[in-house]
């Protein structure tokens, strides 16, 4: 197959597409584009949802690595030493402790049961972007006492009547207001609301935060223990590496990476996603293959006599095969490009207008890798679907082709 042969095959293919049935070409390209979109959209959406959830879990729940209590124990003990040890490890940006206590909030006539979390505001800043999510007032200072920051859903909205509320709230707390917190152990204290935040991560938005020293007052002792410690990795450091490091250096506690936790929490969900992705991929590929096969088969059947003539005047059967094969290649390339444009537009649109639910924000996560693999899969399927009938028709003997 020389250059001249390929040139002739390409000319014949191109002219057939240009001057043959326009609508059949447009529809075929459209079907390929739709199949591509179908192959890319659902997995992209699932990846987007997954990625969104993972980011929020990292940001607001576990950091990159979480150190919890050893099995059978309630707390991570020897807190200061443990924090110092973790913070001294290579690759660790910062470790910060958490402890929470059930409590009842009171504001005017409203009563609300919440979990009060104690944090070290300065260190927390390195691990969680909570400080950047203030919608009113400001974030906790390191040595604040008697100050609390609360989630927007907890604060509530004064303009909405209690019976119309989506979830119970304090009915419109504003920055500077005083709220009363009554803890499970009976300790009761008034706090000034220093700020109101909204993260979009439901469990955090339904919390309130106080400083570590305030919690020590609640407990009436120095807290040298924590429920768990969240650890932020420096950029470029692997979670597993840090986990191994912590374990080797004998950090007291149960060390888990985000990945470990997600596997437990979302393993079955991810598996379902993977199955759905696989099904949509296989269906897309089969549809494309069948459609292209039919389109090219019809085309070749309708041109049998012409193929016979071409062979008669000295056009080699390989040129004939490529004439039809290349038509599929061209349509597949157009369809895939169109599909890429379509999904890119969808991705941009969904990035600007994510589908938001209380649990997650859905956008399309499409990596160049996804585009490349899906394009390749679809392209290969198209080439097979096109070249099989093209090969068959190119082998027919001149006599029977010409008499067709």
């Amino acid at each position: 197959m020389g250059k001249k042969e390929l040139k002739v095959a390409f000319l014949l293919a191109l002219r057939s597409l240009q001057r043959g049935s326009r609508s059949s070409v447009v529809l075929t390209v459209l079907i390929i584009a739709m199949c591509f979109t179908n192959m890319v959209f659902l997995p992209g959406l699932f990846n987007g949802i997954g990625e969104g959830i993972i980011t929020q879990i990292v940001d607001y729940e576990v950091g990159n690595v979480m150190v919890g209590a050893k099995t059978g124990e309630q707390y991570v003990t020897d807190l200061d030493a443990t924090l110092d040890l973790i913070n001294s490890m290579p690759g660790v940006e910062r470790a910060t402790p958490h402890i929470s206590k059930g409590a009842t909030l009171k504001y005017r006539q409203r009563i609300l049961g919440v979990s009060v979390k104690a944090i070290k505001p300065g260190d927390e800043k390195y691990v969680s972007p909570l400080y950047s999510k203030m919608v009113a007032g400001s974030y906790l200072g390191e040595d604040d006492t008697g100050e609390v920051i609360i989630g927007k859903p907890v604060a509530g909205d004064a303009t909405i009547k209690q019976e119309d509320e989506f979830q119970p709230s304090l009915g419109g707390v504003r920055v500077g207001d005083s709220i009363t917190i009554e803890y499970g152990n009976g300790y009761t204290k008034d706090y000034r609301v220093k700020g109101i935040y909204f993260t979009g991560w439901t469990s955090t938005d339904n919390n309130v935060f106080i400083t570590w020293s305030d919690m020590e007052q609640v407990e009436g002792k120095t807290l040298d223990y924590a429920e768990y410690i969240t650890v932020k990795a420096k950029p470029g450091y692997d979670e597993k590496f840090i986990k191994n490091e912590l374990q080797q250096y004998g950090v007291t506690g149960y060390v888990q990476t985000t990945g470990d936790l997600l596997k437990k929490a979302m393993g079955s969900v991810m598996q379902s996603f993977a199955i759905i992705n696989m099904v949509s991929l296989v269906v897309g590929v089969i549809i494309t293959t069948v459609v292209l096969f039919i389109v090219i088969t019809i085309k070749t059947i309708n041109s049998r006599r012409q193929i016979g003539i071409l062979k008669a005047i000295g056009v080699d059967k390989e040129v004939i095969m490529h004439t039809y094969g290349l038509q599929v290649v061209i349509m597949a390339l157009l369809g895939i490009c169109f599909g890429i444009i379509l999904t890119a537009i969808l991705a941009v649109y969904l990035a600007a207008n994510p589908i938001v639910t209380p649990e997650w924000k859905a956008y399309l996560l499409l990596t160049p890798g996804d585009y490349i693999t899906n394009s390749l899969i679809l392209f290969l399927a198209a080439v097979v679907a096109g070249y099989v009938p093209a090969w068959q028709v190119s082998r027919e003997d001149i006599q029977s082709a010409m008499r067709a």
């Binding site: 020389g2 001249k4 042969e5 040139k7 002739v8 000319l11 014949l12 002219r15 057939s16 240009q18 001057r19 043959g20 006599r305 012409q306 003539i309 071409l310 062979k311 008669a312 005047i313 000295g314 056009v315 080699d316 059967k317 040129v319 003997d397 001149i398 006599q399 010409m402």
Partner: protein, 231 residues
């Protein structure tokens, strides 16, 4: 020179044997303008297709310029057709999606011994010869039958083949257009010493042929120099 020896082609239709060619022996010299005539079903097309390498005989031998063409591989036959033979069909058989110019250039484009510029020049000059230069960017369906047949002759001639085959090239044309085509053949034959083998069953075409071979039931019924040819 074409030497055909005891050529047979038998078609099997179920249990029935059709002897489309039943022992044809024939020698055709270079530069001859040969007419093959005979009743419908007498085997004219079959003979033309055998000699033109479009079909394989059941038995017999065909030598073209000393080469046993039936011994060639499939690819060699294709190349032989591309370099040595030209064809004109009854229904013109142009590629409908290609322009006149593209149709004519197509066989030349495939030749390894032609540059792009040569292809263009050759196609152009042959279009000039058939008087359709101004129509070179038209599609075949935009031309009349006679014009299409002239384009198909141009396509057959662009590679300057040794032998030109034409199977009832005038069957779909009126007498005026038929004459135009036949005159074109005559001109080509005269100017380039082009061997032409043409099938026809129109009696008046005789006047163009140097020699007429008549077939009947797959056999040569008569073979003779044509005293009646006027040109």
């Amino acid at each position: 020179m074409i030497e055909i020896t005891d050529l047979r082609r038998i078609y099997h239709m179920g249990n029935v044997e059709v002897k489309a060619l039943d022992g044809v022996t024939l020698t055709i010299g270079k530069g001859e303008f040969l007419g093959i005539m005979g009743a419908s079903g007498s085997g004219k097309t079959t003979l033309l297709h055998m000699v033109g390498l479009l079909d394989q005989p059941t038995s017999g031998r065909i030598m073209i310029d000393g080469l046993d063409i039936l011994g060639l591989t499939d690819y060699e036959k294709t190349m032989f057709r591309l370099y040595k033979l030209g064809y004109v069909f009854q229904d013109y058989a142009l590629v409908p999606d290609l322009t006149v110019m593209e149709n004519v250039s197509l066989p030349a484009m495939l030749r390894k011994d032609r540059t792009e510029a040569q292809v263009k020049k050759d196609s152009y000059s042959i279009l000039e010869k058939i008087g359709l230069c101004d129509r070179r960017d038209h599609l075949p369906r935009e031309l009349s039958g006679g014009q299409q047949q002239r384009v198909s002759i141009a396509r057959a001639m662009v590679n300057k083949p040794d032998i030109l085959f034409a199977d009832e090239p005038c069957a779909n044309l009126d007498s005026e257009n038929s004459r135009m085509v036949l005159d074109l053949f005559h001109e080509i034959n005269e100017e380039m010493q082009q061997t032409i083998i043409m099938v026809s069953h129109e009696d008046w075409h005789k006047e163009y042929f140097h020699r007429i071979v008549r077939l009947r039931d797959g056999k040569i019924f008569s073979d003779g120099t044509n005293g009646a040819h006027h040109h």
